[in-house]
């Protein structure tokens, strides 16, 4: 799990162009959206693409993202349970 979390942080930084952020700057349990990283609705859509591209997970309903993208940890848990690759 620790490794998946680190991998995810790196991927998030890359696809969301968080140029000045390092993996260790992201608290695994802190909310991804709202304050903190300053992510917005387009970032949320890009995370949906990330899950499909890297883990083969297709979200039928984008509203599911709300729960899954609560934190890097919740995202990692969801991926662990549902990944197809």
């Amino acid at each position: 799990m620790e490794q998946l979390i680190l991998e995810l942080k790196k991927q998030i930084i890359e696809v969301l162009n968080l140029e000045d952020v390092k993996p260790e700057d992201i608290d695994s349990q802190a909310p991804l959206f709202g304050e903190g990283l300053g992510l917005d609705s387009i970032d949320a859509l890009e995370l949906i693409v990330l899950m499909e591209k890297n883990y083969g997970i297709k979200l039928g309903d984008p509203a599911q993202g709300k729960e899954i993208f609560k934190s890097v940890e919740t995202m990692a848990e969801y991926i662990e349970a549902n990944r197809k690759k």
Binding site: L16, N17, E19, G38, I42, L45, E46, V49
Partner: protein, 202 residues
């Protein structure tokens, strides 16, 4: 109106009000992220932008800050009127790359959102809370006379006190930007005329 300040970004340098503020190292094309760091700007959203927006943003940032305008006060009396030749083609190509290969088909929303030429006016408006008119026009080539007449008619109709206007283009790793900040009254040094626009561009 008068041209209070202007900035020019070309393949290898950035010039603000006639002074070179940054040039790329020998023969290389200017790197917009390097330019951003050089200018000491702190705006993480910059990294999410496509190249056209980055170029337009940097061109606007320098002259707007120099003019003493802040980033928080809503500015209803300021318009943004930009022109270019390639629309959003640079980002169109980037987006097309995410869908072209059927075996690797992952349409990217964060790339798609920039496939509209006018997003650059939006990015500048958001950064500076500019809430007047924002317009984007596409021409075959730089035309000081059309830029002059369209901007003049716009400002006349909206009665804006300030207008950020000019040319913002980016393709093939090459920015071509001339942004001008117009004000109704200023020091009277550079009048907003087609001839002066042309001089600043050439």
């Amino acid at each position: 109106m008068e041209i209070k300040a202007y900035s020019r970004i070309t393949a290898d340098k950035m010039v603000v009000n006639g002074s070179t503020v940054y040039s790329s190292s020998d023969g290389e094309n200017i790197n917009l992220t390097d330019l951003y760091r050089h200018l000491g700007i702190d705006y993480p959203k910059f990294f999410k932008m496509d190249n056209l927006c980055k170029a337009g943003f940097l061109g606007a940032e320098t002259i707007i800050r120099d003019a003493g305008m802040d980033t928080v006060t809503p500015k209803k009396d300021c318009d943004i009127v930009l022109f270019n030749s390639t629309s959003s083609l640079d980002d169109d190509i980037a987006y097309n790359n995410t869908i072209e290969d059927d075996a690797n088909y992952f349409p990217s929303p964060s790339v798609f959102v920039y496939t509209l030429a006018n997003i650059v006016t939006g990015e500048i408006a958001i950064r500076n809370k500019i809430m007047g008119e924002s317009s984007f026009y596409v021409l075959k080539e730089f035309s000081s006379s059309i830029i002059y007449s369209v901007v003049k008619e716009t400002a006349q109709e909206t009665s804006a006190n300030a207008v950020l206007c000019g040319w913002a283009d980016f393709l093939n790793n090459t920015p071509d930007v001339l942004l001008m900040l117009l004000q109704r009254t200023g020091d009277g040094k550079i009048q907003f005329t087609a001839e002066n626009i042309n001089k600043l561009y050439r």
